[in-house]
Structure formats: structure tokens, C-alpha cells
């Protein structure tokens, strides 16, 4: 098989549960060694999609093609896939060794082979010292590793991982993410990973596929997703729903401009020109926390500047995240120090045009 051919293709997969469409014409293709991160909120259909690929759930329509072969009617163990469940699904009454050996036992491999393979994999995942322990006597991080080890023990074409980092302490999660990425480049396996945490998807994925309400809304490399989110709901999701947003209305002659954050605003003339050239009467301007300035007063602002009220902050040790509000709109800004104001005082919020994402006010799709 050539290097350019796809190892897995998913074509127009659809699934309906009790009259509710959980997956809607999902298609994607993946080359050998790539990691696809499926990112979407809980309930968006990620688990269902993975289980359809694994053969545990039958799709209503569409094909799963692995290595050029349609596997729709094959049972899970004949598809050459391996799955790490969100719940991990370790066999609690078995030892770690037996858990990892399980797929090999099912394949009726001889004892010697099993020993060798379990040894290899447990060394790789740094769990050799717990092989003899029972699976229900492990810590969260160890359980995660054992589940991944069991999946790796099986010689599969594709590894499916459902929320492999969820249910872990933030600190362990951080460490495991890095380790996981190292492991991935070490093994060169094809991996499909489902997650609801944007950080996981951005940090780990070669490609990121956004799945909202059972439909793919964008697919591409992490940087594209982050800097060119196809519509505003993606940008909101990436920031945990606290995107800095302003609605701008421009009348059809491009003369009068108004914003939903009150009368007190100013726009850099160059930026105003850009906005007029867009040709839409209603534009939503957005920026991430690192692309926004909040201070007692911002002298020169090469974008838009609005007045707000200082409502609070988060101290992160290395930096401050400052929160300001105007009406319903909340703005966040990453800063090295706190502005010299007290809670409730007036501040100025500036979004420089270089950091601004422009979305259509009507459709929410990205303009620039």
C-alpha cells in the first residue's frame, strides 16, 4: 500500500436514536500515522462515532472503510481497530497483566509471545512495576495507562481513544498529555482521539475535526482551527464560552456605526475602512484573551476601543487575567500586572485590529 493512500475512510455516516439524529453525514479520511482529534462538547456524538468505527454500534447509513475494505458488516474483532473507552472499562477482577494480555488471549497467542508483548508495552508506558496488581487497586493515572496498554497490545491498524485524559487531576492530565504526544510520535500509529477539551485537541492533533450536534463543522490543522475558526460558535467553544465579542452595525451607506456596548467607543480610521469594505451591515468582532487590552486608559488603540467596568481578575502566578464588562459583554485580557483600578471602576477595553476576528452578524461565519 502506498504512503498516500488512506488507512481509514469514513463516508457519510448517519445514526438516529429514538428519532434524534446523533450523527449526520460524517465523512473524513486519515493517512497512516496521523492523529485526528475529534473535538466537541459532551453529547455531540463523539463516542457514538468511535463505537461505530469499532463495530460496537451499527450505523444507519454510510460506510466505514479500513485499508480499502468496507467493514460495515464485520464484528469488532475483525476490523483491526482497538478502542480505549472513556470509562476505561478495565476488567477490575483481573490483574494488570491479565488486562493487557486479554486481546492476545482472545487471539490464542502462545504464552511466550504474550509475556514478551506485555513486557514490551508495559515498559513503554512505565507500568512494569504494577503488572501484578489488581486493576481496581490503581490510581487514576495508572488506570489510564493500563487501558492504553491494553489497546496497544492488540496489533491494530487504528487506535481509537475516547476522552483518554478525562477524569484525571489537572496536573496529571498535563503531564500525561505531553507523554502521550511523545508516545504517539514514537509509535507512529494511526490514532483517532475524541475529546471535549480544546487544549487536548490543539496540543495533540495533527488534524482537528470539530463535531457539534452530530455534524462536522470544521476540519483542519490546530493552528487553522484556532486562528481561522469557520464560525463564531467554534471560537466561543475554544475559549470556554468567554470570547471577547462586540457587535457592530454599519448602515448600508457605511456612514454611521453603532455597537451593542453603548455610545462610548472609538474606532481607528484604518480599521473603520476595513470594516466598511466588508460590505455587511452587521459584524461581530471577536478576540481571544491574549489579543485584548484592558487598562485604566488605553492611549492609542489601533482597533476598537470601548468603555467598561472592571469586575474581577484571576491571578495565575505568571500572569493576570483581567475581566471587564459592558452590559452583557464580558472582556478578558491577559496581563503581566493588575491595572490600577478597584472593582466596579471604569476601564478601557481595546481590541487591536491585528488580533480581531470578524464574523458575519447574520450567519456567524468568519469574514476575516
Amino acid at each position: 500500500m502506498g504512503k498516500d493512500e488512506y488507512i481509514i475512510q469514513v463516508e457519510k455516516i448517519a445514526k438516529t436514536y429514538n428519532g434524534r439524529r446523533v450523527l449526520n453525514d460524517i465523512s473524513f479520511a486519515l493517512r497512516r500515522g496521523e492523529l485526528l482529534a475529534i473535538l466537541g462538547p459532551p453529547g455531540s456524538g463523539k463516542t457514538t462515532l468511535l463505537k461505530i468505527i469499532a463495530g460496537l454500534i451499527k450505523q444507519d447509513a454510510g460506510d466505514v472503510i479500513i485499508n480499502g475494505r468496507i467493514v460495515n458488516d464485520l464484528p469488532p474483532y475483525e476490523r483491526g481497530v482497538s478502542l480505549v473507552f472513556e470509562t476505561l472499562a478495565l476488567y477490575p477482577n483481573m490483574s494488570v497483566y491479565e488486562n493487557i494480555a486479554s486481546p492476545l488471549i482472545a487471539e490464542k497467542k502462545d504464552k511466550e509471545y504474550i509475556d514478551r508483548r506485555v513486557g514490551e508495552i508495559s515498559r513503554l508506558l512505565k507500568i512494569e512495576h504494577i503488572l501484578g496488581r489488581k486493576a481496581d487497586k490503581l490510581s487514576g493515572g495508572e488506570r489510564q495507562r493500563v487501558a492504553i496498554a491494553r489497546a496497544l497490545a492488540k496489533e491494530a491498524e487504528i487506535y481509537l481513544l475516547d476522552e483518554p485524559l478525562s477524569n484525571l487531576d489537572a496536573k496529571i492530565r498535563y503531564a500525561l498529555r505531553t507523554e502521550f504526544k511523545k508516545l504517539k510520535s514514537l509509535l507512529g500509529k494511526t490514532i483517532i482521539l475524541a475529546t471535549s477539551d480544546p487544549s487536548d485537541a490543539l496540543a495533540l492533533g495533527d488534524k482537528v475535526m470539530l463535531l457539534f450536534n452530530g455534524a462536522v463543522i470544521q476540519e483542519g490543522p490546530p493552528i487553522d482551527i484556532y486562528y481561522a475558526p469557520r464560525n463564531i460558535s467554534i471560537a466561543r467553544y475554544l475559549t470556554g464560552n468567554i470570547l471577547n465579542e462586540v457587535s457592530i452595525s454599519i448602515d448600508s451607506y457605511g456612514k454611521s456605526v453603532s455597537m451593542d456596548v453603548g455610545q462610548e467607543f472609538s474606532i481607528d480610521p484604518y480599521f473603520l475602512k476595513v470594516l466598511r469594505e466588508v460590505g455587511e451591515t452587521s459584524i461581530t468582532l471577536a478576540s481571544y484573551a491574549d489579543g485584548c487590552i484592558v487598562d485604566k486608559s488605553v492611549e492609542s488603540c489601533s482597533g476598537i476601543k470601548v468603555a467598561g467596568e472592571f469586575i474581577g481578575y484571576e491571578y495565575r502566578g505568571s500572569e493576570y487575567l483581567v475581566y471587564a464588562r459592558k452590559g452583557e459583554r464580558v472582556f478578558r485580557s491577559l496581563r503581566a500586572s493588575l491595572p490600577n483600578v478597584t472593582f466596579g471602576e471604569r476601564v478601557e477595553v481595546c481590541i487591536p485590529h491585528t488580533n480581531a476576528l470578524l464574523f458575519s452578524g447574520k450567519t456567524g461565519s468568519l469574514i476575516r
Partner: protein
Amino acid sequence: MRKPFSKEFFNKGRMLNPWLMILPAFLILLVFNIFPLLWSLGISFYRFSVIIREAPRYVGGLNYINVITSAEAWDRIIRTGIYLAYALSLQFGLGLLLSLLLFEDFKGKRMLITLFTIPLMIAPVASSLFFRYLFDENLGPVNNFLKSIAGYGPLWFSSNMSPLGIPYALLTVVLVETWIWTPFVMFLLTAGMSSIPQDLIEQSRVDSIKFRHKFRYVILPYIKPMIALALIFRFMDSLKTFDSIYILTAGGPGATTELISVYIYRVAFERWDFGSATALSYLILVIVIFMTNVFMRYILGGERS
């Protein structure tokens, strides 16, 4: 690894039809439950007696009419109603008291609960027989004790009226059944209380709110489902009360303690009138199935959500 079945049985990917797994259990139920149920429905339309050795004779709904118009049957039903009212209110009152006393955590609480559940698990035949000794009218320890402090011991197995408004024999049955079943109520309510969020209990402790507020706002909302559950279970099981009455009084004296299940038993196995007995038991069954339905909806409805 030990293998209880041949290799073939464990063959890779061999899926078993779920019906094959249910079938054996279903067969047993079919032969010893469904079939007898249908048969007894049949019997209830016949005049039928093994002793007289006459051929069963189809009488239509006559048995049902007889049962419904029989003053004797109604008397037993009313007796059962009175018994239910006394037994259930005692069991629930005491059960609630006990569970409230066991509400707070203390060392040995689990042990205490276990000790309380013993009467529930031992055979009613055994405990009832022993209560015959305890309540023995002449020499029994209960009357010995009463005589030593009050100078008088009632005739526990007589049809004399007790101060509580029911005959002594019925009261004795009520007391024994209460002894057996109060722990059931206590246990369910205690379980309900353990579902109260720990935060809420601790909040009420830190706030030091009054007991009646605590009961109303902290305890009651969480034990309501268990109260309902216990009530349904106790109602249906009390209808079945047989063992203890059979041992304590055998329904006597006269028909003082002859509750519905004992009555059906006597109609069937002393008068050998199977037709009337099955008709009556079918009427009870209808009530029970109706109750079960309510119960299932309650339980399964709760489980789904």
C-alpha cells in the same frame, strides 16, 4: 486458567442467542407458576373437591358470586382490614422512631442495625412458636412479669377485648408481626436517610436548626420514596400473613384471627372447597397485580430518571 467448557464453546466471536439463556428459567416458571395460575383460574369456575371424589362440575361465575355475597368472606376481609390498620401503623410508627434514633452516626451503628434485622430473617414459624411460650397465659414470662408489677396478666390468646379495641388474640398477632416487621420499615427508612446528601446534613448541624425543621426539610424529602416503597411491600406481604397466625392461634379462637389468607387455606384444605378458595384467591390476586403495577411504575419510573 481453568476452562469449564470446551474450546469450541469459547470460540472466538461466538454469540449466544439471549433467548437461549432465558429459556430454562422461563420453563420452570411456566410449569410451576404460569400453568398453575391458569389452572387455578379454571378451577375457580368449577365445583371441585378431591375428597368427595365427584367429577368437577362447571358452574360458571357461581363461585365468585358466592364469595362476594358471603357474609363470612366479608367478615374475614374486614378483619384483615382492621389487622392491616393496626399492624402497619405500629410498624411504621416504631420503624420511623428507630430510624430517627439511628439517624446520626455513632460507633457501632452498623452493628445495631444488624442486630435489629435478625427478627426479620429468622423463620416466622420459629419466632411465633416461641412467642406462644412468652405469652403463655399461666406461666409465660410476659404474664409473670406483668403479674409481678401490675398483679394482672391478660389472656393473650382469647377473644376478650383488649384496651386497644381489638381482641387480645388479634393484638398478639399484631404484636408478633410488628416484632418481625418493624426492622423492615426501619431498614428501608434508614437506607432512605443515607441518601440525604452529606452536605445537607452537615449544613443543618452547623446551622443547628430545630429538630422539626430538620425532619421537614432535611429528612422527609429524602425518605418519601422509601416510605412509599415500604408501605407497598408491607401492604402486600401483610395480606399474605399466614405462618405466624397458623402457629399462634390457627385463626382462633373461633374466627377471631382468621385473616384472609388463613381463611382461604381453611376453605381449601379443611372444607376442601377448591372452587370457592381459588375464586377468592383470584380476587386477592387482582388487587395484588394492580398494586404491583403501581409499584413497578413507581420504582422503574424512579430508576429511569
